[in-house]
């Protein structure tokens, strides 16, 4: 059987990523002390809990597979796989960075951590990475459909707004999901460890979470539109374009992190400790 370039590309990129997931998953479940995973019970709805974890990973994987199918039909295998792994790595590394920096006290305040997950990518569950991919792809597509004559930067901006408006609701719900768990001592899907008095919050969630969501979605889509447009791929070739795309991810992560740090440092003091529309009072 002879494989074409795109199929070889999929195999190579998967071979790079799969061991990271296998090792991360083993470390998370069997050696949680290595990354200082907090011993907090997540929200569960089915017993035994491993079935709950498998179902969640499976459902997210099926949805992601449907989006990949749509991608292959509209943009081809090569670009779709770059988007898939690019989104996972971009959003994944951005979140891992914040989680681990907060966990090891390298940020001004504590950050957050995830409480449940079957498969893991270092410190975040794979379903989170896949959800990022699904949202980024679908929001970008919706943006392109609504504004067909605009450029990729405009589409990225609109996609960021669409995604973050959904997250304004997702975050408060998921952080409180522990109250609906079959176990009375469950926390939410993720936990904000910092003291609310040290930060500016919206719907009882740190405001910079939403800024981060917007920036990650928008900057990732800008990077994708810049590095992987059809003309550039034709001139530079697929291998070079992929190297540029994946090579620029750390640069864009650094940009996102710098903006978030600056915004955090220059938050007006009168906003610190303020919770705009606390979820309990809505």
């Amino acid at each position: 059987m002879k494989l074409d370039y795109d199929e070889k590309f999929i195999i190579v990129i998967t071979l790079f990523f799969a061991p990271v997931v296998v090792i991360s998953t083993i470390v998370h479940h069997l050696f949680p002390e290595v990354l200082g995973v907090p011993n907090v019970l997540g929200p569960y709805f089915i017993e035994p809990i491993w079935v709950d974890l498998v179902i969640e990973d499976l459902i997210t994987a099926i949805l992601a597979a449907i989006v990949v199918y749509h991608g292959i039909k509209t943009q081809g295998k090569y670009k779709t796989m770059c988007f898939l792994y690019g989104a996972i790595i971009f959003a994944g590394l951005e979140e891992i960075q914040w989680i681990l920096l907060g966990r090891f006290n390298l940020t001004p305040t504590e950050t957050y951590f995830f409480t449940r997950g079957g498969l893991w990518f270092v410190a975040i569950p794979i379903y989170t990475c896949l959800s990022w991919f699904i949202l980024a792809w679908c929001c970008n597509y919706v943006s392109e459909v609504i504004f067909p004559n605009k450029n990729y930067m405009f589409h990225a901006f609109i996609a960021g707004i669409i995604a973050v408006s959904l997250d304004l609701w997702i975050d408060p719900v998921m952080v409180n999901l522990g109250s609906a768990s079959i176990y009375s001592n469950s926390a939410g899907m993720w936990v904000w460890s910092g003291d609310p008095k040290d930060t500016f919050s919206v719907f009882s969630i740190p405001f910079f979470n939403f800024v981060g969501w917007f920036l990650v979605i928008m900057l990732f889509l800008i990077l994708y539109g810049y590095a992987l447009n059809d003309k550039k791929i034709e001139i530079q070739g697929k291998t070079k374009s992929a190297l540029i795309f994946f090579g620029l991810i750390p640069v864009f992560i650094a940009i996102t992190t710098s903006i978030l740090y600056l915004a955090s440092a220059f938050t007006p003091p009168f906003l610190i400790g303020v919770d705009v529309i606390p979820i309990k009072l809505l």
Partner: protein, 63 residues
């Protein structure tokens, strides 16, 4: 691309929304607090409007 395949991202986003709504209802019942459902109708207004407009545009394109 087949006719219906262009709706895939919109359907996926609706599934996403409904999944969060299911969780929001669970939390609202557990905490006896309807805020989680009210927030689901108000905060994602740009998301809901965007999906609606994209859906209409795709249908118009088809005709």
């Amino acid at each position: 691309m087949k006719k219906n395949e262009k709706y895939i991202p919109i359907v996926i986003l609706i599934i996403f929304y409904l999944n969060v709504l299911r969780s929001a209802v669970d939390v609202a019942i557990a905490q006896n607090n309807i805020s989680f459902i009210i927030l689901g109708i108000t905060a994602p207004i740009p998301f809901l409007i965007a999906i609606f407009i994209a859906f209409i545009k795709l249908i118009k394109k088809e005709n």
